[in-house]
Symmetry: C2
DNA sequence: AATACTGTTCGTATTTTTGCGAACAGTATC
DNA sequence: GATACTGTTCGCAAAAATACGAACAGTATT
């Protein structure tokens, strides 16, 4: 019986999966693309780019914020969003390492 | 009323989100890391690396297969899994382009 | 052909995600 | 201070993801 395996996921794998999960929805990808391409990044602009209700947009933004990929800043009555540079690089690096470390060997499945 | 927005996500964004979603679980990251590092990649080996039931492992493998990131091949009574090179490169490129195209501008949020 | 081994599929339970409208809180304007 | 505007939070519904054991199907061995 394999009742005593007690294996856990590594912190790195958890972190990468967490980043990936945050990117795992087209609305959130669209948001990040928009934030990367534009200078003005108010909530309304983002909402305008997306085919979903503002409550839902707000929720996606919350998730991206919790993943650390973006940050928001209150500006008068509006909220300005932008990419969190530090964590963005961290995520980029994580994916880079992951895709490289999984370099396929010639001996596998050939 | 914004009832006529009719905006859709682009194919590219959908595709990237789909890849990201497939990577959005530590078990699947672990599987891919293992497949990238080992030559032998039978189901049993993968199951042995993970703290979850075999039915669940099989399900994660199915998802990775459906995302196109891995492929399985029946070998006698066992099943040999490996990374799908072609789509692996495609995913890697998608993430590369994404992270680069979202290069943060100096004017945003500073 | 019975047995052992390997992995998938099925049925189900639980949790999480996604989505929306309504209500709310804050700022600005009249 | 009423009104308009902006965005978040709340409450809820529907769908998807995660997980498991049991049952199954296939191969190999006895």
């Amino acid at each position: 019986m394999d009742c005593c395996k007690n294996k856990d996921y590594t912190i790195d794998n958890e972190q990468l999966a967490h980043f990936a999960k945050a990117l795992g929805h087209p609305a959130r990808i669209t948001i990040l693309n928009f934030l990367g391409a534009m200078d003005s990044c108010y909530f309304g602009d983002l909402h305008n780019e997306l085919p979903i209700a503002k409550a839902t947009v707000s929720q996606h933004l919350k998730e991206l914020k919790e993943a650390g990929l973006i940050q928001g800043e209150i500006e008068g009555p509006r909220v300005k969003y932008c990419i969190n540079r530090e964590n963005w690089e961290k995520a980029k690096d994580s994916f880079d390492v992951f895709f490289d470390s999984c370099k396929v060997k010639a001996t596998c499945c050939d």
